[in-house]
Amino acid sequence: MKAWLTHHRQALISSFAQLLKTPFASLFTLLAIGVSLSLPAGLYLLLQNMTQIVGALPAQTEITVFMQNDAGAGDISAFKSRLAHIAGIRDSRFVSRNTALAALSLQMGIPDLASELPENPLPDAWVIVPSTAEPATLKQLAASLRTLPKVALVQSDEQWAQRLQALLALGRYMFTLLACILAVALISISGNTIRLQILTRFDEIEVSRLIGATSGYIRRPFLYFGALQGMLGGLVAWLAVTIATMQLEPYIHSLTQLYASPFRLRTLSIEEIMILLLGASAIGWVGAYLAVGRTLAQIEKSP
């Protein structure tokens, strides 16, 4: 047990020593890994922020029901009682044609709009807030509202929501795809640096093999090196993403102020940073494992 710990400690120390032995080469490798990793990490952050914006959109899940022009007060109250029996409605609000016209004239800056027009062209309307933003449910709700009497038009944001959801789904898919492609690239970067290291330490491997080193003993320092290199690369990626968000922050801030939105740009959380670092070291480890395995097999073949 103690010997095992000693071996691992030695492997870790030798990995650090190897990194420091060639500082420039190490730095460039770390930058390459870091930049590659910062792409999916940045895209992930972008998606997370987009999801946050979508979640904060107030008008996203409203359905507006316009009544026919000849609908009277009786029809309105009938509609209201029918509305109470439809499931999936969180809130509903009646906007009379007069209220709508007043709001419109206020918005347009024409105070006597009502008196200018021969008659009020706006219909009575209901603004309905559904209890869910799920597109299929929204569609169903809109369909059932359409069947009610004296309803002229049902306008729902379901398409909007659908498009946004589809866009986000596409974004997430792209993130996964990008992450997979870059994982393969990183495995080969790691494998390649390890392969170069093995070439420079070939004598040591051969001699160790001859005096009774197990495959595990020979593999260990390289695996540690791969994992360490991956993790440091992950650290570089985290730094890159953090600097990028810090650069964007003032622009986002002035933009959100224009929209009076409480939105704040989100950076990577502790968990996400951990996942980034661990994932990066796992990828480095895999690259190292593949490279060392191949080299060991070659040594076995040519003693």
Partner: protein
């Protein structure tokens, strides 16, 4: 200790390095393997150390059949064998004592015991004063002694030396032979391959002669 029964070794390409060799080396014995170059001396040493596998017959070392040894078991067999090479196979990126410490690190000795053992081994070959030196600064004879120190540091029961005096002048060579004698007297089985007859110490040491891969009696 070592038993060969009808052992042959044919390399890919058809070259037959050993043909139907049968012999026994007892525990605590000291044996010279001689023959012209290409007679199969190195192959014999490599087969005993499980660096090569036989293509025919069986070799038993320490009651383990080399031909059937799992790959994972080879390192543990080797830890009980001290290997000495003609080209020393020293590591030039570290100093003398670090070279000797390598087998102990591999076997998992703690730092304190390992250092004591490494110094004892260096003392036996007369290199204790040079422990911080780098192998490049050593003479050929000293490099060979360093290689011997690395081979004996884990106190193996078997020493295998492949042409240990091949590159040395006779004075150094006899010095090294005296060392092997001493290890043998301490109970270690010693197998030395050499084509240099003058290096074979006079006395009652057993000599195995190989000729074109066959045993000569």
């Amino acid at each position: 200790m070592i038993t060969l029964a009808h052992v042959s070794k044919r390399y890919p390409g058809g070259y037959e390095a050993l043909k139907d060799v049968s012999l026994d080396i007892a525990n605590g014995e000291m044996v010279f393997v001689t023959g012209h170059s290409g007679a199969g001396k190195s192959t014999l040493i490599k087969l005993i150390a499980a660096i090569e596998r036989p293509t025919g017959g069986t070799i038993t070392v320490n009651r383990q059949a080399i031909g059937k040894l799992r790959r994972g078991a080879v390192p543990y067999l080797r830890r009980n064998i001290g290997l000495i090479f003609q080209d020393h196979k020293l590591l030039f990126d570290r100093n003398v004592i670090q070279n000797v410490l390598l087998p102990l690190h591999i076997a998992g000795f703690n730092r304190h015991d390992a250092a004591a053992r490494a110094r004892a081994a260096l003392d036996k070959v007369g290199l204790l004063q040079r422990e911080k030196a780098h192998p490049v600064t050593l003479s050929g004879g000293e490099q060979q002694r360093l290689c011997i120190a690395r081979a004996i540091v884990s106190r193996p029961s078997l020493l295998l030396a492949d042409e240990p005096t091949g590159n040395l002048d006779s004075e150094y060579a006899s010095e090294i032979m005296v060392m092997f004698k001493a290890f043998n007297q301490a109970g270690t089985t010693v197998v030395i391959s050499t084509h240099d007859h003058s290096a074979i110490a006079a006395g009652n040491t057993r000599i195995i002669r190989l000729d074109h891969g066959s045993l000569q009696t």
